[in-house]
């Protein structure tokens, strides 16, 4: 009896070991911070099209960069998808050059000078509104409207020290209205620890207004939530590109190239846009029902991800000082 129990435990132990070890037959290894469902879509699609299996390892963007740097001598990952271009720019020595034929359809500046990373998608930074708490005539039209003291305690934003997207928002506002504007915003806003608390809180009706990403707000609209609305600020929504890259000396370079081609192909970008509301970087991308095309809105043209990267330390230090003293 006892021996049987031990045998059973041993079998279980090795089974779980076998299950958890990454399979050696993997053809292309993807590190990604994107949601599981989205990763499932592209990996199944790629496998169906090419017969190459995608082995997905999901982790945060910061974590992935640390891993890729740590594995420099013996790379385990082939492709990373997707993170803020600044993050890839800072780690570009760990990525190899590859200029995909698909990049012809991308706007200038969406591929690194030596083609070490390629921007695949765009995030739009917008104002999310809960219509049950804000009357149509009160709804802000500009970023500037958020500085009005009447919104005190009614706006939420994420902590830029913790979230890259929140930093992009703070940088954009700094670009538009400087510290004067940011000080007014901090006086009105509740700063929450993660970017997900923003769209969740606004959708749940905890807060009338939130500064967040378009795709995150649109998930609720697409899900059938009638109270959620998106304001594209007239003084300029911010567009932050997200990039993908092939790891230097990666184990499956040929498959990796095919995978990057696939990720930035029109077909996939359109599908990701339609199903997950992530804007395609391609200029020839189609529109999706329920989301306005970029031509219908004002974008902040001077928003420069590379400059944002350079100013990061300086802006965050001053930001923390203001918050800690609040």
């Amino acid at each position: 009896m006892r021996r049987q129990v031990i045998r059973l435990l041993a079998v279980f132990f090795f089974l779980s070991l076998a299950f958890s070890g990454a399979s050696q037959a993997a053809e292309v290894v993807l590190y990604s911070s994107n949601p599981s469902e989205l990763l499932d879509l592209v990996s199944k699609g790629f496998e169906a099209k090419t017969g190459i299996k995608v082995s997905v390892v999901r982790m945060g963007t910061g974590e992935a960069m640390k891993r890729i740097a740590a594995e420099k001598q013996n790379p385990l990952c082939d492709v990373f998808w997707s993170g803020d271009v600044a993050v890839l720019e800072n780690a570009k020595e760990n990525f190899q050059t590859y200029k995909s034929p698909e990049t012809a359809a991308l706007p200038p500046g969406y591929i690194e000078k030596e083609a070490r990373w390629t921007a695949s998608n765009d995030h739009l930074m917008i104002i999310m509104v809960n219509k049950s708490l804000v009357k149509p005539e009160d709804t802000p039209k500009n970023w500037k409207d958020l500085f009005d003291p009447k919104w005190k305690g009614k706006i939420v934003m994420a902590n830029p020290e913790k979230s890259g997207s929140a930093y992009a928002q703070v940088y954009g506002l700094h670009k538009l209205y400087g510290w004067d504007g940011l000080n007014k915003l901090i006086a009105n806003a509740k700063v929450l620890d993660s970017s997900s608390l923003i769209y969740k809180g606004v959708a749940a009706g905890e807060y009338p207004l939130g500064i967040t990403m378009e795709y995150a707000a649109h998930r609720y609209i697409a899900g059938g939530d009638k109270n959620v609305g998106i304001v594209y600020p007239a003084d300029g929504a911010f567009m932050a590109p997200e990039a993908t890259g092939i790891v230097k000396n990666c184990p499956h370079p040929e498959e990796a190239k095919k995978f990057v081609d696939y990720l930035i192909s029109k077909e996939v970008e359109d599908e990701v846009f339609a199903k997950y509301s992530r804007r395609p970087a391609r200029l020839d991308a189609g529109d999706t029902e329920g989301l306005p095309s970029l031509k219908q809105m004002t974008l902040l043209a001077s928003f420069d991800p590379m400059e944002a990267n350079r100013l990061e330390k300086e802006i965050l230090a001053k930001w923390k000082e203001i918050i800690l003293s609040k």
């Binding site: 779980s16 958890s20 390892v57 910061g62 913790k162 905890e206």
Partner: protein, 549 residues
Amino acid sequence: MRKPFQAWNIILIATLAILFFAVLYPLLYIFKASFISTDTGAFSLKSYATFFKYPYYLRCLGNSIFVSGLSTLLALALGIPFAFFLARYRIPGKNIIRTLGTLPLILPTFIGAEAWLLLLGRNGLFAKGLQGLGIEMPSIYGWKGIVLVFTLQFFPFVFLMVSSALNAIDRSLEEAATSLGSGKLRVFFTVTLPVVTPAILSGALVVFFLCIENFGVPVLIGEDFRVLSVQAYNEFISELGGNPAMAGALSMILLAITLGLTVFQKHWVERKNYTMTSLNPIEVKRLRPLPTFLIWLFCAGVVFVALFPFAVVMISSITKTHGPVMYFGQFSLENFIRAFTIAPRPIVNSFFLATTSTLIGIVFGIVVSYLLVRKKGAVSYLLDLLVMLPLAIAGTVQGIALAATYNKGIIVLTGTWMILVLAYFIRKAPYSIKTTSSLLQQIDPSIEEASISLGVPPVRSFIRVVLPIMLPGIIAGAIIMWVTTLAELSTTIVLYYGPWATMTVEIFQRIGSGDFGPASAYATILILSVLIPLFILNRVSGRDLASSL
């Protein structure tokens, strides 16, 4: 008798070495790190100065003490009458109420938090119902929600401790007071209450400790109400580079509180305990229908409210969802299908990690129990201290200490699954040691000595003779280790890396991004994985599960 001495001494030294490197050294390491400036690398008191300079950090400390204190008081207010009513009066369905009343203990607290969000969040089920009637619910986010969840999940500790003290009172004690002319209330306040006070105090300390070290609940429903355990994590883990010195300083402050509580508990409260053997148990009274009904209503109501959230999670798991939007009333198994097809890895990870650390923990637990019971001395006193130390450390603090220590240098464990196993078995082995050592104490050493004198080497004698007798205690300890490891969040969240995310991490992240449907599916799998082994244990050995925690 030279040889046995040697064999066990080698094992003792090895055990002490493991404990030193897994428990003590990491703590000393972050203690040191908290005094080192991140900019210059020189000795500096800057982190502590920063803590006391900014209102922000002091507010975190104040918040921690406030929610823990308030939750403790409320847990006492629920737990004491609950224990008293069950011990003294005849109530219909008493056994079921008692068993269900201990269940909240073994269910992960952050799942309770998720459930209350589903119920009382502005978009929640209750809130929507009440809105139809024109009533606005106050927000559950912030300290109110934290206190609600803590109170409902931790009151069973008070209940268990107080009821065992109540059951130990001898009838003659109260009868003597009554025959001397004291009224009922006077007897209660002058005889019964003082006798159970140490138990109440112990319960209160346990609850306060669990509240102040808790990570999942405040992070999910605290929003910008920040507590110390969450802030220490925030300083350590950040997308844009953390601050180990500040995280170290916050950890030290939290550690000072939790260690202080433990020392207070050990050296003051435990000493005040009254030892009593109840020869004549107190009679269980039958009350008139109306008071009986009121008492029943209170006890059943508390249990119902405390367990209701878990039913909600299970229902949500089979509710149709579209992205983050849930359609209650429409059912679908899609959440489970997705959990098993799109992201099954966390489920496999959880079972693998819990099983591996439990297996190691069993061996470790047996060895340590043996050393503690049979090889008494100064060294084994040190061993006792070291092995029980993790029980006095907040989960996040332990995680931060391990991650910071084994991040670079000769042994790099941070970012591997091994560090999770190490943390789990160090944190959960005390449970196994408690169950095995109490059994070992009852085994006569002469049985083992007989085997040794017949020529069987000591370690083999132990395995052949003592181990089989200890088996029930070992199995009970293993099950408790396994289920508490499955439900672990605060250490895991600091130590895990991407592919090794566990079910708790997956649930936590999905609640974080607003995907309650899939989160509930994982939560239901987790709840069942915890309940089924405990149910079996209860049936097979008839153990009162919660009492061994």
